[in-house]
Symmetry: C2
Subunit: 348 residues, 2 copies
């Protein structure tokens, strides 16, 4: 009967306090689990608050306290599964400890200065997880200067002091390459991204190193440039297939490029993995859905999201983050696009 009716406006702490016959402060303390309240009073306050359906007003608390129990995520793009997975991990981790997560997306079109955005986020969130688009170095300066807890995702280079959650690209790519080599492949193509330093460069490096370690010459012709997109992977793979001596296996810098390669290979009338083995990187959800399902290197995306939140919460709570750079392990996921190299039977 005492349910707050819509239209009465939200129930405030004052309502609860009055109803419980105590001061606002006592009610506040009781509800926040602070000490200095008798067990009996606390029980009563909590009971009434529950009954009334009371919820703290985060705007008010933020204003008074500086704390909202909200963490913000700055994301460049919401149309890719990579980021989606990270957000799942981050969201779950946040909500588990009674924080909320809100996502702010960057768009080229919206003319917002870094400053404006960060100030806004700072005004309602207690901390920020930043996933920057490649080449958004202009943001780094602002983030570095921002006076709030921040964790970056897979960042390196300038401002390396910014706490970062990354995964081990080099190691992952190494394991992928060894897998191909164990399957008997020696002529292995690599589909790159744009020629920039970063995660993709690590993967390329591992490709080259593993080949070298196995006494296989790195043939520049086998390195074909794409751009992380399916279309880019398609074109890059097609160039590889057009070679006089095409590769018997292709390692794509990421899953989307691998899907493009899959298209290109099928289009050339070849079969995966019978004629050509293919391996991706990331293990986005779609990787398990293609036909055949994609062998790939799993980045622990959900875990990375969780880890980012936990690192951020540590910062928020004033705990010194031991390492400014957490590197999580990758894992080879063997599915249907890699197989033992078959002996060429066809007469070329």
């Amino acid at each position: 009967m005492d349910k707050p009716r819509i239209g009465d406006g939200p129930v405030t702490l004052a309502h609860v306090a009055e109803r419980a016959g105590v001061s606002q402060m006592t009610a506040s303390r009781a509800l926040n689990g602070r000490s200095g309240v008798s067990a009996k009073t606390r029980r009563e306050v909590v009971r009434i608050a529950t009954q009334l359906g009371y919820r703290v007003n985060v705007a008010a608390r933020k204003l008074s306290n500086g704390r909202s129990r909200i963490i913000a995520v700055l994301a460049p793009d919401l149309t890719n599964q990579f980021i989606g997975q990270v957000l799942i991990g981050a969201g779950e981790a946040a909500r588990k400890v009674d924080y909320e997560m809100l996502v702010y997306t960057l768009f080229d079109e919206s003319r917002r200065s870094h400053d404006e955005v960060l100030r806004l986020l700072q005004q309602f969130a207690d901390g920020l997880i930043a996933i920057l688009p490649r080449g958004a170095n202009d943001y780094l300066q602002a983030l570095y200067a921002a006076n709030m807890p921040i964790v970056m995702l897979d960042h390196r280079g300038e401002f390396a002091a910014l706490p970062t959650i990354a995964s081990n690209h080099y190691e992952g790519a190494t394991v992928a390459m060894r897998h191909l080599i164990e399957l008997g492949h020696a002529r292995i193509g690599f589909l790159t991204g744009p020629d920039e330093p970063g995660a993709a460069a690590d993967r390329l490096l591992a490709y080259q190193h593993v080949l070298a370690q196995h006494g296989i010459r790195v043939d520049p012709q086998l390195i074909s440039q794409g751009d992380f997109t399916q279309r880019g992977g398609f074109e890059a793979a097609r160039r590889l297939l057009a070679l006089k001596r095409p590769p018997s296996a292709i390692f794509a810098v990421n899953d989307m490029a691998a899907f493009g390669a899959l298209d290109a290979i099928k289009d050339a009338g070849l079969s995966v993995p019978h004629d050509i083995s293919l391996i991706g990187f990331d293990d986005i959800p779609m990787a398990a859905q293609s036909h055949p399902p994609l062998t790939t290197v799993r980045q622990p995306l959900v875990w990375m999201g969780r880890s980012a939140v936990n690192t951020l919460l540590a910062q928020i709570n004033g705990i010194d983050v031991a390492s400014p750079r957490v590197v999580l392990p990758t894992e080879l996921v063997v599915r249907g696009t890699t197989a033992t190299m078959r002996v060429r039977e066809r007469v070329s």
Copy 2:
């Protein structure tokens, strides 16, 4: 020289007012473009605010005013491009009129009641765009009761009074079917989603109607059930291909299912569009990236996002929304997966 140094804490209205030698109210009025300030004073205040790098504190304004100039989006899932596109449109539209957009994601795992979520959103946002997962009817009740401006995305059924932005599924599917029929196809398969009322059902209905209109019997065998996923589309298409008389064209309930079908068709050794035509629905970005690129029915996703924001802003500003349901047109996008039916030459 007068740049606010980080660490001094953010510049507040009081700072600006003091510096300009006016009261806070005058400063507030000047900065908010309210009347009652001389042009000269206003200029001066604005100048100083700019120089100091002043930004309103949204938490404070929300508390005082009830308005934050933030709109919230409730999204079930961030790993699909469909929602990503809607968010692009919404974000752009919001930022164009100096609003900000924040996204809150639902996760099954996080035990948050509808009430909790809506209350939170209400506390910092001026309005809400709700994209509900299928079957989240429990949320509807809460949304309906919530005392805040709300716009739904492609909702119908109960609580039809909730303002909704939708697109014309029936019409889109009709155009798609006519396209196939004009290409000479008569035996056309349909890949459904789960058997529920809603957008997918409209598309199926159009499929059936167009066939009937052209005097083609609707063969139940040609309707194969999937689940909106690539894997589901794959399996559903495979069943169609295994028929004694397989279809010469397939219409998939959405693009993801179409991609699965594409895999299945290729896997069966058939070629698209040479042997089988294929058409999807949605026109997510990936549709243009597959090989061949997917012919599909475009939902104006970005436009829907924009439209949702504009409808919401109207509500926020107290303008009565004329129609509680805006239905946007769809458009056939002919790409590479549909072609004239070839005369069967193979002897079965």
